[in-house]
């Protein structure tokens, strides 16, 4: 079976695409290599640790938050004290508890949005690239149209009509994010489609879905994961921005974005920094951590080095 030119070809191929899942042991070796590369990126590891901590905070919110986030527990606009570590907001709710519960919102929005649009985008991208022709043309024009519009402006309009809550935000963000994934996937599928082993698969008479999902998709997955990681960060940021404008998660439910809304008034900005500095810092920390993870993954998956 193993003719020498074929072997040579396979060797050069795995240099380009290490994810080629020929044998289980090469896959293990690949994952190990990926891990060692990722570990070398110190900031990425720090980012991963922070992300995991944030996920824990979100999961354990009911147990670690000192108060109910929606309940009035003290004097309003009280500065930080032993009882309320980060003070209370303008209605008298505990800022720390709200901050902890808001972690849930941000992470849910981030992960669910990305899971949704990456799935849709990947499917559309694979279909578009593999079948080509008028379908490809049509899909690409649609992505052009989506990408030409100022993202935030359109999202604001849509949300103002559909009403603002977490579900609409997730759906709308996903609706306007899939085109970039579709294009990315299309690009890598187009280049993989050219490779000999796909022709071999076709010649062997494998079914189209099998070729698409068993043979093409695993080799295109690297860039998708990187894109998804950055996508989580940007979805979290978009949610915060929308909530900040009052078009996102609505009070009394706490979100880092809507906690910052109050700071638009100069009195809050000047005299009550405990109301707006912590949520802003949390957004920065979360987004930064996830971006570092994404950067680490990109370096680890980038085989050009």
């Amino acid at each position: 079976m193993a003719l020498s030119p074929y072997e040579l070809d396979e060797g050069s191929m795995s240099a380009v695409i290490p994810a080629e899942s020929v044998k289980p042991e090469t896959e293990d070796a690949f994952l190990k290599q990926l891990f060692t590369r990722f570990i070398r990126h110190k900031l990425a590891v720090a980012g991963l640790v922070i992300t995991v901590l944030l996920i824990l905070v979100a999961l354990l919110a009911p147990w670690i938050a000192p108060n109910d986030p929606k309940e009035v527990t003290g004097v309003f606009s009280a500065p930080p004290s032993a009882e309320h570590w980060l003070g209370t907001d303008q209605v008298g709710r505990d800022v720390l508890s709200r901050l902890i519960y808001a972690t849930q919102i941000s992470l849910i929005v981030g992960f669910v949005t990305v899971a949704l649009y990456v799935t849709v985008g990947t499917l559309i991208g694979i279909v578009s690239a593999y079948f080509g022709g008028w379908l490809d043309m049509l899909i690409m024009r649609i992505t052009d149209m989506f990408m030409a519009f100022p993202f935030l402006m359109v999202i604001l309009v849509v949300i103002s009509i559909l009403g603002s809550n977490m579900t609409t935000i997730i759906l709308v963000l996903a609706l306007f994010s899939w085109p970039s994934v579709a294009r990315l996937v299309r690009g890598s599928v187009l280049s993989i489609k050219q490779l000999d082993y796909i022709n071999a698969g076709v010649a062997l008479g494998l079914s189209t879905p099998r070729i698409l999902f068993r043979h093409i998709f695993p080799n295109a997955v690297g860039p998708i994961i990187v894109n998804a990681t950055f996508g989580i960060a940007s979805a979290i940021m978009s949610e915060a921005g929308l909530s900040f404008l009052g078009m996102g998660v609505q009070p009394p439910t706490a979100s880092w974005g809507n906690m910052l809304t109050d700071a638009q008034s100069l009195t809050v900005l000047t005299d009550q920094p405990w109301l707006w500095v912590p949520p802003g810092a949390m957004i920065l920390l979360t987004v930064l951590a996830i971006n570092f993870v994404g950067d680490g993954l990109r370096d680890a998956l980038d085989t050009r080095q």
């Binding site: 900031l43 910052l260 000047t270 930064l288």
Partner: protein
């Protein structure tokens, strides 16, 4: 080139579908009738298209002023803000990116790459609020918002001091993203053979970097800057809201709150036009920078 015509044929299409169906419930039935809101959605849309062909964008629901006039008043400040921010951002990104690439893997490179990450990860509204707090409230160097001092003498300096903070916020985010592009692009180019030739000819490193490498590295950067425009317009919505800047971003929020659909339709059209124009400009610039590309 064909792409642009295809997009141009469909300005506002996906958006308008969303805008039309929900007619404001709080508006009186009578007024609805006058404004034609009781007509079927499709009919409304075609009426709007027909008016558009005659250069009419209709009248605002709330102030009854022509949409073209309202948007016309607001668009200048936004373009001023956005272009100033773009220039400011690139003025930081290009030199820093070049230096990072030339001094790859040095302390400077690491610090700048780290800073660029913070620049892209900081929420614009948080940075804006922080800057207002420090520079406007505490230090009182700059005004907290607006475009000119109300009742003041106005003039160039007045406007400049109002611009510095918002331009800085918008520009920092752009710079943060672009530093990495410039750096990556320079690194790609610097491994090319013709640069080795240039170096071995004994040309001064400064000339090699800035004349030979930079020109080639700029090509991908031009495309990336063009892609930045829609994001810039989106970002200006938040910034204009925070700094009370009287541009189309602020108008967007106001119109959404007052459900002023004719203005929103107009705004989306204008935004699409701006994006298309900048796409075209990007292409032309690309051709100007790369003599290998010719449009026939």
């Amino acid at each position: 080139m064909l792409n642009y015509f295809i997009i141009k044929l469909a300005p506002g299409n996906p958006v308008d579908m969303f805008i039309d169906p929900n007619t404001p419930k709080e508006v009186l039935e009578l007024r609805k009738e006058i404004l034609g809101l009781n007509d079927p959605v499709i009919l409304q849309y075609f009426k709007w298209l027909l008016n558009l062909l005659q250069g009419q964008l209709g009248y605002s629901f709330s102030s009854y002023a022509p949409v073209t006039k309202i948007i016309g008043e607001r668009i200048g400040p936004t373009l001023l803000l956005a272009s100033a921010a773009l220039i400011f951002g690139m003025l930081i990104a290009i030199p820093v990116g070049i230096l990072s690439a030339v001094k790859q893997n040095t302390k400077f490179d690491y610090i700048m790459t780290g800073l660029s990450f913070i620049g892209t990860s900081i929420p614009q509204f948080f940075l804006g609020l922080g800057l207002i707090y420090v520079f406007a409230v505490q230090l009182k160097w700059f005004p907290t918002g607006g475009m000119i001092t109300l009742g003041g003498a106005g003039g160039f300096w007045d406007r400049l001091t109002h611009m510095i903070l918002p331009v800085f916020v918008l520009g920092i985010v752009i710079a943060g993203k672009k530093v990495r592009y410039v750096r990556a692009s320079m690194l790609d180019v610097m491994n090319m053979d013709y640069l080795r030739t240039a170096n071995s000819k004994g040309l001064h490193p400064f000339i090699v970097t800035n004349k030979h490498a930079l020109r080639n590295a700029l090509l991908p950067i031009i495309t990336v800057v063009g892609m930045e425009i829609p994001l810039l317009l989106g970002g200006s919505i938040l910034i204009e809201q925070i700094f009370q800047w009287p541009g189309i971003g602020q108008l967007t929020i106001q119109s959404i709150l007052s459900r002023d659909y004719p203005i929103l339709m107009g705004l989306n059209l204008v935004a699409a036009l701006i994006v298309l124009t900048t796409n075209l400009l990007t292409d032309l610039l690309y051709a100007a920078a790369d003599p290998r590309i010719k449009y026939t």
